[in-house]
């Protein structure tokens, strides 16, 4: 028998009840909700959780988390005073603005969660689909709740009651081996790779059973657990395949040792019901996405270092109050300015102290905007076909783009491909004059080794990324590749090589765009742009200025 899916608020209440029963075991809750009445109502209910609650923010430092020397108290008292960190005493941590949680903090919290040190409520206020809780945390939090689009009218009852009975029952709840196997199989069928998910589902099923007063996990307990734990993790739409069902039918057959026969009959939850329970709880748009065969993880973030690591220290920003934790630099002038107005008062308090009175609260630290430099890699087709038709025009376009790049202080690099290979004409530079000179001297003629051009671009892009720049690629070509990577003139192989290179580039998350300089738009290039996951801009008789605007818009987007 299959339970009907819960309505949103009932689901929210169930999540609360589960958190009351076993908050630490479940890891916690990923709450995706913009501020609003529904979230306010939910948060109010969260306050009744039995453990101590602490709020933390994504910018929290290690001293606060792990504790450390309390400098001002130590100096004041003349003996060592250590302050305990939040993680040491926390029962339930509430992380606000969780979508902005940096990977470092996520890893620290993850380690604490793994050690069963606390439960975490991650308040994810992300507006866009790609603003999300870091995956390292999402993986460890058992429950998920989305309160967006939930009107206040839907918020009806509140939870009440005593959870002591359920908590007392929890250690004695038996999880039959068949249910455990079904939970694992269901996770695999939904394409959930991480093994934390089925473990958390087991915890949730136990808590659910304890909540319902069952001393053995019942089918409906497992079903609810699946609904709450698996729905947001699903990555594939399970196919109703025969072999899978056969497997599950085989699964309960060997008599499980620890459950007696009468119970195990009852325990036979067909795995499809669990699967259906998860599917029923999937958000509607996600279901459509999954059905279309699109992975929701297509937009994997491109690693942490690249965007934040500037090769220069960046533009200084106004300094702000902070703590000297070994990584910050003190802004001496601002610190003195902050302390100045208080000097007479402080001097009056401590007359024997002759020097400047500076308290920890006066410390101002320097901040820099660490934007990494952008590198625009031009990959220009100088083959015979292009040279004849429009090389001059392409050169004009590149020159305009160069001027723009110069104005934005971007770096540029120039790669030309013709004949049998590609040549790096200009390594990343900021020199406009040099680029123009090289471009003007660009010879034309020969075949179109598109793949070689893309490969050269990728090498430049990788090197640039290692130096903390953010590379983007602009490919200007007029048509089909006809020279393969190994230099042979084979149209089919050349096209294949180009597509493979494009796929690699796309996998490295290098933004790219394709500018078709041919007389009429070429389908092959359009396809290439799709593989590169970048825009395709045909330039049929377009002037260089229009092209420059298009490129600027495409790369800024």
């Amino acid at each position: 028998m299959m339970l009907p899916p819960l309505d949103p608020w009932a689901r929210a209440l169930l999540v609360l009840r589960l958190l009351h029963v076993d908050p630490v075991g479940l890891g916690g809750l990923w709450l995706r909700a913009r501020p609003g009445p529904a979230r306010a109502a939910f948060s109010a209910q969260l306050a009744s959780l039995p453990l101590a609650q602490t709020r933390i923010h994504p910018g929290i430092g290690d001293t606060e988390l792990y504790g450390g020397l309390d400098l001002s108290a130590t100096l004041g008292a003349g003996r060592l005073i250590l302050r305990a960190g939040l993680l040491a005493e926390a029962g339930v941590l509430t992380l606000t603005m969780a979508e902005r949680c940096p990977p470092g903090l996520a890893a620290r919290l993850g380690q604490t969660l793994d050690a069963r040190g606390c439960a975490l409520i991650a308040m994810d206020e992300g507006a866009e689909p790609d603003e999300q809780l870091p995956a390292a945390l999402a993986d460890r939090l058992g429950l998920f709740l989305c309160l967006d689009d939930l009107p206040l009218a839907a918020v009806s009852e509140t939870i009440s009651g005593d959870f002591n009975a359920a908590r007392a029952l929890l250690p004695h709840v038996v999880l039959p081996a068949t249910v455990l196997a079904d939970l694992a199989i269901t996770a695999a069928a939904l394409g959930i790779g991480s093994l934390r998910a089925p473990l958390l589902a087991c915890v949730a099923a136990r808590a659910m059973a304890a909540l319902n007063g069952h001393d053995t996990v019942q089918p409906e307990d497992a079903q609810r657990a699946v609904e709450l734990v698996y729905a947001h993790r699903a990555t594939v739409f399970p196919e109703p395949e025969e072999p899978q069902q056969e497997q599950t039918e085989q699964e309960p057959e060997p008599p499980q040792d620890d459950t007696d026969q009468g119970q195990s009959d009852q325990m036979d939850i067909p795995e499809e019901i669990l699967l259906e329970a998860a599917l029923a709880a999937l958000p509607r748009d996600l279901l459509a996405q999954l059905a279309a065969g699109q992975s929701t993880r297509a937009t994997a973030n491109s690693g942490t270092g690249a965007a934040r690591k500037g090769n220069r220290r960046g533009r200084p920003l106004p300094s702000r109050p902070g703590r000297l934790d070994g990584r910050n630099r003190i802004d001496l002038v601002a610190t003195l300015t902050a302390a100045a107005p208080w000097q007479p008062l402080r001097r009056a308090q401590a007359p024997h102290h002759a020097a400047l009175h500076i308290r920890p609260g006066d410390i101002r630290v320097k901040r820099f905007q660490e934007t990494s430099d952008r590198l625009l890699i031009f990959v220009v087709d100088a083959s015979g076909s292009a040279a004849m038709a429009r090389l001059a025009e392409a050169k004009g376009a590149v020159e305009l783009l160069l001027a723009e790049a110069y104005a934005r202080r971007d770096h540029v690099s120039l790669i030309a491909f013709r004949g049998e290979g590609a040549e790096l004409l200009l390594p990343p530079t900021r020199s406009l004059v040099q680029t123009k000179r090289r471009l003007a001297g660009l010879p034309g003629g020969g075949g179109t080794p598109l793949a070689a051009g893309l490969k050269a671009a990728m090498e430049v892009a990788l090197q640039a990324r290692a130096r903390g720049m953010t590379p983007s690629i602009a490919l200007l070509t007029d048509g089909r590749a006809n020279i393969a990577l190994d230099g042979t003139a084979n149209r089919a192989l050349a096209g294949e090589d180009a597509t493979r290179m494009a796929r690699v580039l796309c996998a490295q998350n290098t933004p790219a765009l394709v500018i078709d300089t041919g007389k009429r738009p070429a389908d092959a290039l359009r396809d290439l742009a799709v593989v590169l996951n970048g825009p395709y801009i045909p330039m049929p008789r377009a002037d260089a200025r229009k092209l420059s605007v298009a490129v600027g818009a495409a790369l800024d987007a």
């Binding site: 453990l51 060592l80 470092g104 694992a184 991480s194 093994l195 942490t304």
Partner: protein, 346 residues
């Protein structure tokens, strides 16, 4: 609110599958000179669990009682440590956790603030590097480690000595340790210099096999909810494994390495275009450890091919067009070079 008492780390033997990762850990336990293990892979595949379980497999070391750098004999103790005792005791091999948010002071050691404040003495408080001497240094999420800490580690790992010149202190002490790291490549790349410091590198993926997955969940569930009997059962297996490791450690110096094996090593590295000679050296050491573990007297191609992927995977030039990944490239080269022998062995 877990009322169950969970004691001890998850046992190493109870980890389902992930054979390559376990093999790498065992090899590094047999011969720390291999230079540590890097475990990279998906979330929730038991990376951290395996590393934490490693501690139980390591044979104890002999060290001076109370010595902060685990010196083997009293005369090796640094003079700043002011150790009263001259007893050499047996203590477990240190496995030191290097947390992500660690400060430079904690890593290299710093002025002992407590003594400075309370007694006005200038004393050195040793850091994690001191404690990790002669042991293992474990970094979870190693790819997220701050750059300045990575620089520090590289420097010390290179020289085997930690030099502290700060706050009026001038101190040096030995810091020879084996790096063990784990991380998820999705969250960031590892710097090539640091990558090179790891002797072995393994990639882990979530098990695709349903039965294996069910088994993982079962064991973990038993670990958490039925801890006593579970630990009792697996501890026996762990101690059997540890005895095997100790035996292999003793057998290691007696192993014979024929010239043909050395030649094979070199040929394999040349065929793969591995940078530098560290590849050959690590490959050979790992193969010797493998032979010792298998109880063989002579290091042969069988052992080489068993350890080649993990010893060489991270030393290859990246070929962006080879979608198969470097593990497959190593396996392919092994097959090309020692094909027939390998087939005969299997």
């Amino acid at each position: 609110m877990t009322q169950h008492i969970v004691s001890g780390a998850f046992p190493f033997s109870a980890i389902v599958g992930q054979d390559e990762m376990k093999q790498a850990m065992i090899l590094t336990a047999i011969d720390p000179g291999i230079g540590g293990v890097l475990v990279f892979g998906d979330r929730g595949t038991g990376k951290s669990t395996a590393v934490r379980a490693l501690a139980a497999l390591l044979p104890p070391i002999q060290a001076v009682e109370g010595c902060p750098v685990n010196s083997a004999s009293p005369e090796q103790c640094p003079d700043w440590a002011e150790i009263g005792s001259k007893n050499v005791i047996s203590r477990p091999t240190p496995v030191i956790d290097l947390p992500l948010g660690v400060t430079e002071d904690r890593v290299v050691g710093a002025l002992d603030i407590e003594r400075a404040l309370t007694r006005g003495e200038k004393a050195f408080e040793p850091g994690l590097l001191a404690r990790a001497n002669r042991g293992y240094l474990y970094i979870d999420e190693v790819n997220l480690l701050e750059d300045h800490i990575v620089d520090l580690l590289l420097d010390v790992a290179q020289s085997g000595e930690n030099v502290v010149e700060r706050e009026g202190l001038s101190i040096r002490h030995p810091a020879r340790f084996v790096l063990v790291g784990s991380g998820n490549p999705e969250e960031g790349e590892l710097r090539p210099q640091l990558l090179d410091r790891f002797g072995l590198s393994v990639e882990v993926t979530s098990p695709k096999n349903i039965d294996a997955r069910v088994e993982v969940i079962k064991r973990r569930d038993a670990y958490e909810n039925d801890n006593g009997p579970f630990m009792q059962h697996w501890r026996l297996q762990d101690s059997a494994l540890r005895q095997r490791i100790v035996a292999a450690k003793q057998a290691l110096p007696l192993l014979k390495t024929p010239d043909s094996t050395l030649r094979d090593c070199a040929e394999l590295c040349v065929a793969l275009g591995a940078d530098g000679l560290r590849g050959e050296l690590t490959l050979l050491r790992a193969a010797r450890a493998q032979a010792a573990f298998d109880g063989d007297a002579v290091v042969s191609r069988v052992h080489l091919s068993a350890v080649a992927p993990m010893a060489l995977r991270h030393r290859l030039r990246r070929d962006p067009l080879d979608e198969a990944g470097s593990a497959t490239r190593v396996a392919r080269a092994v097959d090309d070079l020692f094909g027939p022998q390998r087939a005969a062995a299997e």
